[in-house]
Homo-oligomer: 190 residues x 2
Amino acid sequence: MYDALKQTFNRIAPLSDADWAFGLPLFKYVEYKKGELILREGEVHHHSIFVIAGALRIYNFNGNKESIRNIFLENSMFNESGSYYLKKPSLFNIDAIEATKAFIMHRNDAEVLFSRSVQLATLGRRFAEYALATVVERNNELTSMDGKARYLKLLKEKPHVFQRVPQYMIASYLGITPEALSRIRKEIAG
Amino acid sequence: MYDALKQTFNRIAPLSDADWAFGLPLFKYVEYKKGELILREGEVHHHSIFVIAGALRIYNFNGNKESIRNIFLENSMFNESGSYYLKKPSLFNIDAIEATKAFIMHRNDAEVLFSRSVQLATLGRRFAEYALATVVERNNELTSMDGKARYLKLLKEKPHVFQRVPQYMIASYLGITPEALSRIRKEIAG
DNA sequence: AAAGTCTATTGATCTACATCAATGACTTAA
DNA sequence: TTAAGTCATTGATGTAGATCAATAGACTTT
């Protein structure tokens, strides 16, 4: 049950058996149906989510159009950072693209956990650092590459996403319309 | 000398005198001339920078045009996250917009520091968490607001930046051209 | 199988903003 | 004081991608 989680975490910062014994019970196992809303814009996000299987997305609305900020597949850990860390109303929605199994941990439990040992504190730090580096890179893509270049980069770096997510969501993730993505694909194929 | 730094850090996570005594000597005091290049694209960024006085910017080139990602004034701490945390070549340059005084700390020293106590580890974690929340919010602005809205938001939230930074840098930070910013300003004034 | 619902594609048009070019205001150097 | 840079402004034009609209294939429901 906890294997994937332990492997993922140990890759980031190795923990003692005692720390594991303390930490694992703080996770709560949950299942989400396909399409189920997990966090609504305006609510405060209290939990970090570790995806065991399935796919979640975080998105908001520009006008009445969904804008997908990120997609999380199995073995990824995330939260709505602005809301989770700063306890502010979320700017985003989170829902399940597929039926999903996950572990979640409440912020309060996470704080207790990360205060227990230097190793655990380091784990928490590394998660934030890695997420930070990832977001900065994505930010750079969105501002310095055009739609075609972003599409090609995604194709190259996350090809597995395409087998699982409809094209209009890919377009949204890339920051363009489905029509624009369709044209880009046509141009590349032709 | 260390007052501003201590105040800023204590606001994030309070430290014991022993931790302070251990940590402060790990900072190195530096001064940068106006216009001085601090990090060149392609190099690995080894230091976190705490700005005591002055102003630094982090930017890269789209073609031959500078694109400013962020501007850091006094009492802010930052690094090139992707490069610093993942030890990859930097995508960005860092230089001094004004003559600047700063403390810098090498990543290796920071790791030693953050491994010394849970309080210090928590400080390191909070820095990354706060930076993460900030970057996600900025990302959201850049993708969901137009130039005018981004300008008004900056005006409202960081008015002090305008007294110190030329307009073409503001434009670059906002992700638009100086011409576009000039037109936005004209439209708002009129 | 028929009917309704999604999704992807294609075409026509529109728009925010970029690019290119010229000008005037300010600053700095001789 | 003049000359040479900078910087902000304004005008003319170009363009990536949005928006609107229509069509067709694939899936689902009955």
